[in-house]
């Protein structure tokens, strides 16, 4: 907990200074890597998937697609495919962030300032943002799990039962089972 608190402080203080920097879309970074390579950039988005905790650093995927502000789990509206980039966070992830985004969860929204590294030679060609400052915009939010589709489940279960009975009847399984029960009885 102490580690997380220290990490949070380290992230939040420089983040305030970096706030003045213009925010870039991830799609812009990926479309013009030559322009932004090795430059300090600021991006904002949702952490999705997993926290890849490798001890001294944590790798995350940061998406800045429309689902950040209009989560699919809440709105149920589709707005195309995801757009994301890897971000390397130094020093861990504070507990306040909450779980990463996934099914029924809108992950924490953060603002990251850091160095954009396109096909970085030191890391064998990875493309990512090396975070120097991180600010938590909004912690993770869980949405109520959509209830079961009762009609689908009942229809499916009924069809399965009828089909299995029909197949058993065709192969005379029930009579054979009953007979073997009587014999053994």
């Amino acid at each position: 907990m102490k580690r997380f608190a220290v990490a949070l402080m380290c992230f939040l203080l420089p983040a305030a200074a970096a706030h003045a920097q213009e925010e870039l879309a991830v799609s812009t970074l990926l479309a013009q890597p030559d322009v932004y390579n090795q430059q300090i950039v600021t991006i904002r988005g949702e952490i999705v998937g997993d926290y890849g905790d490798r001890g001294d650093v944590v790798w995350v995927q940061l998406n800045d697609d429309p689902y950040v502000d209009q989560p699919f789990a809440e709105e149920g509206r589709l707005a195309g495919t995801n757009t994301g980039i890897s971000v390397r966070l130094n020093g861990g992830v504070p507990a306040e962030f909450g779980p990463p985004g996934g099914y029924g969860i809108r992950g924490p929204i953060i603002e990251v300032t850091g160095v954009f590294r396109d096909l970085d030679p030191e890391l064998g060609g990875l493309t990512f943002v090396e975070a120097t400052a991180v600010a938590l915009v909004s912690p993770a939010e869980a949405f109520a799990e959509p209830g079961p589709d009762t009609a689908a489940a009942v229809t499916g279960a009924t069809l399965t039962a009828i089909a299995l009975l029909a197949m058993a009847h065709r192969r005379d399984l029930l009579r054979r089972l009953t007979r073997s029960y009587r014999v053994s009885g």
Partner: protein
């Protein structure tokens, strides 16, 4: 004159198709169990519906058993194989469409076809918030398609029709005289690779990536299925770039190559037989080396990747991914779209050539490339040598085989059909105003069951283009013969007397 198939012919085809659909019901039990374990109730209810519908169809088809003693003939087997790849995706869409992650039903059919044909192109939206069980289902479709849903059914089928079903799936080499024994061996190879592959990827997920154990297993299982079956779906939208790990990439590359190897080669290796003189091994090694050199040179020329190590790593991973027909990537779509000149050519040619025959890979296949080169070499030698000189026309593949005129004709016919298929898809995309390069790239990717994309395949693509890609995936996976048999059967049913 065309002979109209009898009612018994239709019954026998429907009966075998029903058995294959029964395999879908069994396969759907896995994501259902996952959905229940993870509390994904809505997805679970859709899997129950899928199981119910497929079991009911299978049970109904079971009643259409043909007359005793009537075996499935060659053309029936081919028709069943062709129909399998059209009909199974219809059922497979139930949980996909139910997830709500598709704007149009045809998009979910596109993804189901892409999964079953192990292509890996996807139009799913907001993949990163999809339920794990439906995500797992996408990968199971690739496993079923790659390992052969027909092969799975063959374990329960017998008779002369089994061989034509086997061949109808685009498989040519039998390791054993009995097709069912061959099917069992293929599943044994797959199960062994699965046990090792999933374990290694899961351990990497826990100890290298730093994921929790359940998620590491989820990533391991899904990526294994997509890699070994040369499918290319990934559980996250950024494909293999999500993992940021050279070790992970290396494991995946090994699995992709293992998946692109013919099961005959697996059999030879298991029996410690010599394989280095095998024409497919030599051709595959040659074409991978050439396309790799071209791609790396191209990447260096456009300055996309600066230094040698990343240049080789990025180039090697993408050439293996393209050549094996997998379609994984470690760069963004925008980055790949910027690869022009030789880099583009290297990747496109690698995709078009494909993996080995009787494997899960698509494309023209190394055996045909090797045989075509050998036939051309022999023709040149015959022309250069004095009259009466005898040029031995043989090749090595599990022993010495003879290159006969029928084989050469078949090799060139199928290869030309693939080229025509590549051009057809490109022409349709050109008609919608896309540039030639991306149009050709996407068309090859769909036809050769690869899955790499430079951005044309998306939820917004025109409907006709989407239908074209669906048809290309279907035709490319079945290698034309089964499709021709289905068309012939349909024509006989309609016009026959």
């Amino acid at each position: 004159m065309l002979l109209r198939p009898s009612l018994d012919d239709h019954r026998s085809i429907a009966h075998d198709l029903g058995r294959i659909i029964g395999v879908v019901a069994m396969a759907a039990l896995v994501p259902l169990a996952w959905a229940l374990a993870r509390g994904e109730w809505r997805s679970a209810s859709h899997f129950i519906l899928l199981i119910g519908v497929t079991t009911a169809v299978s049970a109904a088809a079971d009643r259409l058993r043909p007359k005793p003693g009537r075996a499935v003939d060659w053309s029936h087997g081919m028709v069943v194989a062709a129909l399998t790849w059209l009909v199974v995706p219809l059922f497979a869409t139930i949980p996909l469409w139910g997830s709500g992650h598709y704007s149009r039903w045809i998009d979910s059919y596109f993804d189901a076809m892409s999964g079953l044909t192990t292509t890996g192109l996807a139009v799913i939206q907001d993949l990163d918030h999809l339920s794990e069980s439906v995500n797992l289902w996408r990968h199971i479709l690739q496993f079923l398609g790659g390992q052969g849903i027909v092969l799975a059914a063959l374990l329960f089928l017998a008779g002369s029709g089994a061989l034509s079903l086997f061949e109808g799936e685009g498989r040519e080499h039998r390791m054993f005289p009995n097709v069912r024994t061959t099917a069992r061996f293929i599943w044994l190879v797959s199960a062994t690779h699965a046990a090792i592959g999933i374990t290694v990827l899961t351990l990497d997920g826990i100890f290298v990536q730093g994921f929790d154990a359940v998620r590491a297993f989820f990533h391991g299982a899904t990526i294994f299925m997509a890699a070994f079956d040369t499918g290319g779906f990934s559980p996250m939208s950024t494909s293999i770039a999500y993992y940021n790990s050279p070790i992970f990439e290396a494991i995946v590359a090994v699995l992709m190559v293992a998946g692109a190897m013919s099961f005959g080669l697996h059999h030879a290796i298991w029996n410690r037989r010599k394989v280095l003189d095998n024409i497919e091994v030599r051709t595959f090694a040659l074409t991978v080396s050439v396309t790799l050199a071209v791609t790396i040179l191209g990447l260096a020329l456009i300055g996309a990747v600066g230094e040698l190590y990343p240049l080789v790593r990025v180039g090697l991973f993408h050439v293996i991914s393209a050549h094996t027909g997998t379609g994984f990537t470690t760069v963004s779509v925008a980055e790949m779209a910027s690869w022009s000149g030789l880099a583009f050519a290297g990747i496109a040619v690698a995709m078009a050539l494909g993996g080995m025959s009787s494997s899960t890979a698509g494309g023209v296949k190394s055996l045909r490339i090797g045989l075509a080169m050998r036939a051309m070499r022999d023709t040149v030698r015959e022309a250069l040598l004095p009259d009466g000189a005898v040029v031995p026309q043989t090749y090595r593949q599990y022993g010495t085989q003879r290159i006969g005129p029928n084989l050469v004709r078949s090799v060139f016919s199928i290869s030309l059909l693939y080229v025509a298929l590549y051009l057809l898809g490109a022409a349709v995309a050109l008609g919608f105003g896309y540039d030639l390069g991306p149009a050709l790239f996407e068309s090859i990717s769909a036809s050769a069951a690869v899955g790499l994309s430079v951005g044309i395949v998306s939820p917004d693509m025109p409907l006709l283009l989407e239908l074209t890609y669906i048809a290309q995936m279907w035709v490319g996976r079945l290698e034309f013969i089964a499709i021709a048999a289905l068309l012939g059967f349909t024509a006989s049913t309609v016009f026959g007397k």
